[in-house]
Amino acid sequence: MKGAKIIVIDDENIVGKMIKATFEKDGYHVETFLSAPPALARLKEEPFDVIITDLKMKGIDGMEVLRTVKKESPDIKVIMITAFASMDAAVEAVRGKVDDFFPKPFKIKDLKVCIERLLGG
């Protein structure tokens, strides 16, 4: 679904930047944030289709973003990314609740395929 709107939240700015650069080439609209609060505020202004969020962040973490987003707008797809290599307790906690999950490092192509699948396009 070309033209879909995506929010990326990750305290590593390269993640957002690279997703933005590669996705916008394919016609997606991508906005990037280094922490959750401004992203959540942005969501209140406009509807978005997909949220890609890091799990471990200072302050509001990925779990909380997931809870807030799903409560307020259950249609938004949430994809979790994390540098935790193994499926540890934190990863287990988000499994089944998130729409998909990518351990870092991941393939941008896989992320694209996933988003297309989630958006039915």
């Binding site: 590593e12 390269i14 997703i19 590669t22 080439k25 200072k58 540098a83 490092p105 941008i108 192509k109």
Partner: protein
């Protein structure tokens, strides 16, 4: 030798001593009675002999023949008395003396009889009568005196014997009670010390306390008598030895358990470390990967500047990884500490001067009390300074303006360790976080905490054979206490 056997042995000795004393006293008493019996007989005999001498004198003065008959009769009486009491007299003065006495009496009797038959005018006969009478009287007197002296000697001997026995019994009773109580008390004291040490976390062993060693003659005696050997072999542990053995095995088991706990904690912290490393490395790795993917995908769209920027970012992220790996290597392979004898107070002052600016900016009150004349510690000054700065920085970061930072140094109760306390009146650490403050990558700081400071500090203090402990209460503050062993003279050769 068991304590109970020692007590039995001592009691047997005392009983034997008392029995011997009793026997000795009884024998003396028997002898005394015999002697007294003789003295009684002798008094009777002497009275008779005195009467005989009086009759003899009368005979010589008045030439009365009836006196001779009197003497004869008295002598016969005395002889009969001696005969009837023969046994008692012999027991008291011995057979030779008795025979001598008998001879004197018989001699006298014969002279008297001769005088009766041949008439009393014969000069030589008179002399013989006098001589025989005198001899009898003197000998009887002599024997009686001798026996009285014997009686006195026996009484004195008994008195001394009883006194010596009493002293010996007292000494042996005191000796054994001293020996047993010393052994028990000293052992109990040793056990008490070990129990204290164990409760303090030091699993040392009890050393057997033997205030007195069994004397050599006792060993010889025991080795010569097979019956005693079954009871008193030196190798048989006594009751206290058994207690100490039990305590030692308990201490050993506790030590093993503690080692197991430490081992499992180590494994757990390796797990935490691994997870931490994975996470720390995961981010830069992902960044490099994404940069490379985007670079490939967007290659044609990217300008020259952008391509260079991408590659520079790859380089930066690689550096990030290199730093993490370098830090980890530093922590996992601690540099050999460069130790020197140092005054801990000087190190504290130096550390404070290094963080002085930070303290001023944060507006935190500082209260430093360092004990005078503290013994030196053998430390790597830079490493200990790193620990102190780390703890002081943490305290400052946990405090707000107007809070107080207290720093104390002093000796612990045993005098073997220097204690340094760094206490703040800041936020405190939540109880659920306390067990993890020394774990690698554990941090409660909002930003910029690596979670390695306390982990590294812990390692440094451990390498110095010291301890680091934390106490904290939410809202009232946190106190870190470091102990470092006092520098011993013999270790430094000074």
């Amino acid at each position: 030798m068991k304590i109970v056997h020692k007590i039995i042995l001592a009691n047997l000795f005392d009983i034997l001593l008392i029995a011997l004393t009793g026997l000795f006293a009884y024998q003396n008493l028997q002898l005394l009675l015999t002697k007294l019996r003789y003295v009684e007989i002798a008094d009777d005999l002497n009275a008779s002999f005195l009467e005989i001498r009086i009759s003899e004198k009368n005979f010589f003065l008045y030439h009365d023949a009836t006196e001779l008959v009197n003497i004869h009769n008295k002598l016969r009486e005395s002889q009969n008395a001696m005969q009837s009491e023969r046994e008692d007299i012999i027991r008291a003065i011995g057979e030779p003396n008795y025979r001598q006495l008998e001879l004197c009496t018989q001699d006298y009797l014969e002279v008297i009889n001769a005088a009766g038959q041949r008439g009393m005018n014969q000069e030589s006969l008179q002399v013989r009568i006098r001589e025989a009478g005198q001899r009898l009287r003197e000998f009887a007197d002599h024997i009686t005196k001798l026996e009285r002296a014997n009686v006195n000697r026996i009484i004195a001997g008994s008195r001394n014997g009883l006194f010596i026995s009493l002293v010996l019994i007292l000494i042996s009773a005191l000796g054994i009670s001293q020996l047993v109580s010393q052994r028990i008390l000293k052992s109990l004291k040793e056990i008490e010390k070990v129990a204290h040490a164990i409760s303090g976390g030091t699993f040392r062993k009890v050393h057997a306390v033997h205030p007195f060693h069994e004397p050599a003659w006792m060993e010889q005696l025991v080795s010569k008598l097979p019956l005693l050997r079954t009871f008193f072999t030196k190798k048989t542990p006594d009751e206290l030895d058994s207690v100490m053995k039990a305590i030692n095995s308990m201490s050993e088991e506790l030590k093993q358990h503690e080692e197991m706990i430490i081992q499992s904690k180590k494994l757990a912290s390796i797990g935490i470390l691994t997870a931490g490393v994975a996470h720390e490395l995961g981010n830069p790795l992902n960044n490099i990967s994404m940069l490379a993917q985007a670079y490939t995908e967007l290659y044609d769209d990217l300008g020259r500047e952008e391509r260079i920027e991408y590659m520079q970012k790859v380089e930066e992220e690689t550096e990030r990884i290199r730093d993490i790996v370098k830090n980890l290597l530093d922590f996992s392979k601690p540099k050999k500490p460069n130790r020197a004898e140092a005054s801990i107070n000087a190190v504290i002052q130096k550390s404070l001067s290094l963080v002085g600016n930070m303290l001023q900016v944060s507006n935190i009150e500082i209260d430093v009390h360092l004990a005078d004349n503290l013994p030196h510690v053998l430390i790597d000054i830079n490493q200990i300074q790193e620990v102190l700065i780390n703890l002081i920085t943490n305290a400052i970061q946990a405090s707000s303006a107007g809070d107080e930072l207290r720093i104390r140094s002093g000796l612990d109760d045993t005098g073997e360790h220097i204690q340094i306390a760094i206490q703040d009146t800041g936020r405190g650490i939540p109880p659920e976080f306390l067990p993890h403050v020394f774990d690698p990558f554990f941090t409660t700081k909002e930003a910029g905490g690596t979670g390695l400071g306390l982990f590294v500090s812990y390692g440094i203090i451990q390498n110095h054979q010291g301890t680091i402990q934390v106490q904290s209460e939410m809202g009232s503050g946190t106190c870190f206490t470091i102990t470092l062993p006092v520098c011993r003279r013999e270790e430094t050769g000074g």
